[in-house]
Amino acid sequence: MSIGTPKQPANAPITEAARRDPVDPGLKRWQIRFPKALRTPLGIVGAGILVLWLIAAIFAPLLAPFDALAQNFPRLSAPNGENLLGTDTLGRDVLTRILVAARTTLPAAVFVVICSALLGSVLGAIAGYFGRAVDEIIMRIADLVFAFPTIILAMVIAAALGPGLKNAIIAILLVSWPSYARVTRSLVMTARGSEYVIAGRLLGFSAGRSLAREIAPNVISPVVVLATLDVGSAILTMAGLSFLSLGAVPPTPDWGAMISEGVSQFAAWWIAFFPGLCILTIVMAFNFIGDSLRDTLDPHTAQEVGETTS
């Protein structure tokens, strides 16, 4: 053990000032980081696919060649000059239905992810900050949900509530919040013991203010990353529910329901293949963006990303 350090005079020259950083790179942290996150190769691909899908969804009424519900064409015709992606069992144009379905699937998936991220992280933050009984109650409920496979529990809930897009969204929301709760809880538990949070408490911060002002900025980026990665699985779960006739009610076009229909018409491969391809691309795009965000927002990997891209 060392006791005592040689005495220093007070008029020591200020060398520290000379070591000061010239310009603060963190000055516009949020403004710079998000576009930068998409500057990794995978991020660019993901963002590109997503933008294409957004354009397709927004302009679907203009892009779609036919009426999504009209049964005007020969049944089960293979892709041809008129029906570019073929027709289904009822003689509806597959391309049209895919484009129109994007208008419900994409907003629904984003909506359900935002809601479950909000619900889960608020509950997780409360559990992590207050601890004890509150923590036990919230996290045991989360464990209960975790104990079932996602799609099975979502099926049970959707079946209990009855088929329909709204009920499918509620079902996915109820099964997907616990992962956010777990992540947020552990981050908040770490942050609440740190000295800057204690310093805030010493300045008279209430629990809510401490959470919102001091802790939230430090835990939000992992949650954003998780949410981005989760959009893909939300789309998959929703497609799964539709596949099981628990999602969108026919004749509303829906990717999952279209695949379900195609399964019974195996020779007409185009009915299931193209909606499946759509799900694949969109899930991939969100995963790419999520990976890219994770790499840029994580301080351990952010530097490497910065070196390779800038």
Binding site: I3, T5, K7, R19, R20, L27
Partner: protein, 278 residues
């Protein structure tokens, strides 16, 4: 603002306390539960008084309970026994509730400068939080930064662009902005290099005294404490073994442990001097 160059030499005069002491610890004890049962008494029957505009140095080896005592004073630990009284108000342990208004006059500077600032908030926002407690203190973000010798544009930055010494000065500025009556420094210089230690310690003393606050300065470094403290309390294994004016501790230590601490201070031995110590 007093510059550090004009820092007063070790003051020996015990500042006269106006009436009751500002902070009073009455046979305070604190216990930690040990894994596998049993309790460890980190602080055991400590009684201390802190007058107004007084700097009290608290020294002792690592693990002797100095930091626990600091936490007790701030209400971050619950005393197992005894009471802490600040300006006539009992210090209650800070639970999940908001800290009581009358206790906001006790502020703390932490040991680790890398953890004591929020990495995701601008320095300005963090100083503003403290300034909100003390709008009549005459401080602004700029004057605070100037007082701790940092450029005004520091306010727009995040903590990662500062060195440890700079962060510690920001932490001091934040504690000061709240207009404390008692500033507790829990080994604020322990993680700084020898070159900076005296400078930061003197800065804390000057800023605290100039703003009419008292200070409890915790350190295991007797020589720095000698430089800035009016009185020194020596702590060993959870107990205060000796409290006396700094000069008396330095020249005429009574307790054997104090003598041991003093003997452990490295001496200049003719093999050269540490830069800046002449």
């Amino acid at each position: 603002m007093t510059s550090i160059d004009q820092a007063p030499a070790a003051a020996t005069a015990h500042s006269p306390a106006a009436g009751a002491p500002l902070l009073e610890l009455d046979s305070v004890a604190c216990e930690y539960k040990l894994d596998g049962g049993g309790r460890f008494r980190a602080v055991n029957g400590v009684s201390l008084q802190l007058g107004r505009s007084e700097v009290l140095g608290l020294v002792g080896e690592s693990g002797c309970g100095k930091s626990t005592l600091a936490k007790l004073i701030c209400g971050l630990e619950k005393p197992a026994d005894g009471t802490v009284t600040f300006d006539g108000h009992p210090v209650r342990a800070l639970g999940l509730k908001k800290r009581a208004k009358e206790l906001l006059g006790i502020q703390m500077v932490f040991q680790n400068p890398y953890a004591s600032l929020n990495p995701r908030r601008r320095i300005r926002d963090q100083l503003d939080d403290a300034l909100a407690l003390n709008p009549d203190g005459g401080w602004t973000v700029e004057s605070l930064l100037d007082a701790v010798d940092l450029p005004a544009d520091s306010a727009q930055r995040y903590s990662h662009s500062f060195s440890g010494g700079q962060r510690q000065r920001i932490a001091i500025a934040r504690a000061l902005a709240a207009g404390p009556k008692v500033l507790v420094g829990d080994e604020p210089i322990a993680s700084l290099d020898a070159f900076l230690q005296t400078r930061i310690a003197r800065m804390m003393r000057d800023l605290a005294i100039d703003s009419g606050a008292s200070m409890i300065f915790i350190s295991h470094d007797l020589s720095v404490v000698r430089d800035i403290a009016d009185r020194v309390a020596v702590m060993e294994a959870g107990r205060i073994v000796e409290v006396a004016p700094t000069d008396q501790i330095w020249n005429d230590p009574q307790h054997p442990y104090t003598k041991k601490l003093l003997a452990a201070i490295p001496k200049v031995d003719g093999k050269g001097i540490i830069p800046g110590s002449d």
